[in-house]
Amino acid sequence: MPPSQPRNPSPAPTPAPPASPAVAAALRRYWHQNLRIMAILLTVWALVSIGCSILLADWLNQFHVGGFPLGFWFAQQGSILMFVLLILIYAILLNALDRKHHREIEQLSANENR
């Protein structure tokens, strides 16, 4: 196999338009907010799937919800319900963040064009 070489046609899609400092700052804010939402949701994900369903499962099994030992319920029902909920929350929050960011950018470019 030949050593890897830069492929000829540039892989970069449409180059980003030159962004003004204000627009670049707005983009950075957007990205950091995105990362924060992601970090929080992934923490919940880990707490439920790794924490309640596995690491604490035998301890939680001493409690019962209806006919279910709790650790068993988390492993076979609760974790799945939580996963669906997490993606729903992510979709709602991120799509809202997108819209907010769009408004910000529109305002910025309107100001700049004035």
Partner: protein, 606 residues
């Protein structure tokens, strides 16, 4: 009308429906062929992803596995759903914004190297073939039991159907067929579960019925199962880490490997290229897991009901009053009875167990055992075949019959039983077609067009795509007719490889701009080679599970960590990617609509 007539009718109608959909959604260009034109609505894509994802393993085998594993069966439930959270948060929106055709496309472009692209192509093709082989076995099981045709004829019929709709419609045909297949498979799974739940516990929600008391009994079903299991020498159904194999660390590693593997499986990732926008990709991930959860929340209930039914309807029965389902399935060799001479069935986890399965043994061996065992019972020589079966590790019924036989155990109507057969076929065919498309796009797009002949015309690329998918169908059919004896073993491979190669490469590619070509390739190769070495050594060469007892199924987690570690340690030592590549990562991270989304057609028409 008997079960068989109903099965012919329902399976026939469902196959006709798939072909009809294929005809109306046939395509003329590569964009339609690889990503369904990129215009699939989020909710339809969610259903298609569900059918794509839920394979013969999810539909036929999973509830059976949980039924025999109890708590530890949760690794499959969590593993095969939890990965969608990672997929939705870490991968799907960004890959949609990237907006090309395949996973190797992203790896090759982001790491600016054809070597990286080729590593990805090899992984994608290997993972997909391993997986397809499993689907074909599922098709064979369903056909041989319900239609009583030869397994090989069943595989050929299934392949012919996939061949028509995959070559005609590509991703577009596959997507809309999968939407139909989703409804067939989910109805086929839910209707029997609900009927059994009402029968056993009086609750119409299997998820609640599972935690309720049995009818006319003051004991919850799960407590009853704990007791039955303990009496028979198994570990309690709901107890965590009671089994020596399923230690806390092994449960953790296996669940994580399945989750990360799920997020890295190319046939699932590629589904997010087919929606209109990043926004739709996020919704599509939600709908996908929502539709998948309908089955995954029901499967543990089916597992618990089936365990109870099976033990209750068999234990202590004589040959004369055995239920019909037992006789039907005994013919397939998935459940066998070797009596100790008292004429009554006994199922247990001790040496007095009398229930076995064919497993990896040949039917010839089983026939020989049966003859010798009969001599032993009659006191005319022979030997106690149970000892040999126990040593061969084929104690207990095959997990695959649980879902397919439960409707018969519960004496549900014939048409429901027939519908379950159609559901199993839908699950196997939908997954097979998604995988075949990945094989086709990896070879025809990534290898042929991007590496070998970048000047190929659109018509030629479409022709190559169709030929490769046709060829892949034939290879998959041959794998189904002559299944490699180790299908079950190599599925662990698919997840291990996806977890240890794709997942870290894609995540770092999006979230760390600094990662260059060399660290990424070294990371992928490190993860891959460690995982491959461990799985092959452990499964085929009797290598002990020396990594703290982590089994082959869970080792992908360690491979993934190795990949992350190698890439991250090497990154500061090697140059950062070119400015164009960094700009591409920026574009992927931006919300859409600000800078124009990547134009797939122009991006490819260099």
């Amino acid at each position: 009308m008997g079960v068989q007539a109903w099965t012919y009718l329902i399976v026939g109608i469902s196959f006709g429906l798939y072909l009809f959909i294929a005809w109306i959604s046939r395509v003329r260009d590569t964009r339609g062929f690889y990503v369904a034109g990129g215009g699939v609505p989020a909710i339809a894509n969610g259903m298609a992803t569900g059918a794509d994802w839920m394979s013969a393993a999810s539909f036929i085998s999973m509830a059976g596995l949980i039924s025999s594993m109890g708590y530890a069966g949760g690794v499959y439930l969590m593993g095969w759903t939890g990965g969608f959270v990672l997929l939705a948060l870490l991968l799907a929106p960004y890959l949609r914004k990237f907006g090309k055709f395949t996973v190797p496309d992203f790896i090759g472009d982001r790491y600016d190297s054809n070597v990286a692209r080729l590593v990805a192509v090899v992984c994608a093709v290997f993972i997909s073939f391993v997986y397809v082989a499993g689907q074909m076995r599922g098709v064979g099981v369903v056909f041989s039991r319900f239609l009583e045709v030869d397994i090989n004829i069943g595989v050929v019929i299934g392949m012919a159907i996939v061949f028509v709709y995959a070559t005609l419609g590509g991703m577009k045909g596959i997507t809309w067929t999968q939407v139909a297949q989703y409804w067939v498979l989910i109805t086929a799974f839910l209707v029997p579960a609900i009927a059994i739940s009402i029968n056993l516990t009086g609750s119409a929600m299997p998820q609640i019925g599972m935690g309720s008391n049995l009818r006319g009994d003051a004991m919850p079903l799960l407590a009853k199962l704990d007791q039955i299991n303990t009496d028979l020498g198994f570990t309690a159904y709901t107890a965590a880490f009671a089994d020596a194999k399923w230690t806390r660390l092994n449960v953790l590693c296996t669940a994580l490997a399945l989750m990360v593997g799920t997020a890295g499986l190319p046939h699932v990732i590629v589904r997010f290229y087919t929606v209109k926008s990043v926004r739709a990709a996020r919704w599509s991930a939600f709908w996908a897991l929502f539709f998948i959860a309908l089955l995954y929340l029901t499967a543990p209930a089916t597992a618990a009901f089936a365990r109870y039914y099976m033990i209750n309807s068999l234990q202590g029965q004589t040959r004369a009053d055995l239920p019909t389902w037992f006789n039907n399935w005994e013919k397939t060799g998935l459940i066998l009875w070797f009596d100790d001479g008292d004429g009554k069935i006994r199922y247990s986890n001790r040496t007095d167990n009398e229930i076995f399965r064919t497993g990896a043994l040949t039917s010839g061996t089983i026939r020989e055992y049966a003859v010798e065992h009969q001599k032993w019972i009659d006191g005319t020589g022979g030997y106690d075949a149970r000892e040999r079966l126990r040593t061969a590790g084929v104690s207990g019924p095959d997990n695959d019959i649980i879902v397919l036989a439960t409707p018969e155990m519960a004496r549900l109507a014939d048409w429901i039983i027939a519908f379950v057969a159609a559901g199993g076929l839908a699950a196997a065919l939908s997954t097979a077609s998604g995988l075949l498309l990945v094989i086709s796009s990896s070879v025809a797009h990534d290898l042929y067009y991007r590496v070998l002949d970048p000047n190929a015309t659109e018509a030629r690329r479409l022709l190559v795509g169709r030929s490769v998918i046709g060829l892949a169908v034939v290879v998959a059919g041959i794998l189904g007719i002559y299944p490699p004896g180790f299908v079950g073993e190599v599925v662990a491979f698919a997840f291990g490889l996806a977890a240890s190669s794709f997942f870290p490469a894609i995540v770092l590619g999006i979230f760390w701009k600094r990662v260059g070509t060399v660290p990424a390739i070294v990371g992928m190769l490190a993860g891959l080679s460690f995982t491959t070495f461990y799985i092959i050594g452990n499964r085929f060469f009797d290598m002990p599970a020396w990594f703290f007892g982590v089994t082959a199924q869970g080792i992908g987690t360690i491979g993934m960590l190795l990949n992350f570690a190698a890439t991250m340690l090497l990154t500061p030592l090697f140059p950062a990617p070119r400015a164009e590549v960094q700009a591409m990562v920026d574009t992927i991270r931006e919300p859409e609509g600000f800078t124009p989304a990547v134009q797939i057609e122009t991006a490819l028409a260099h």
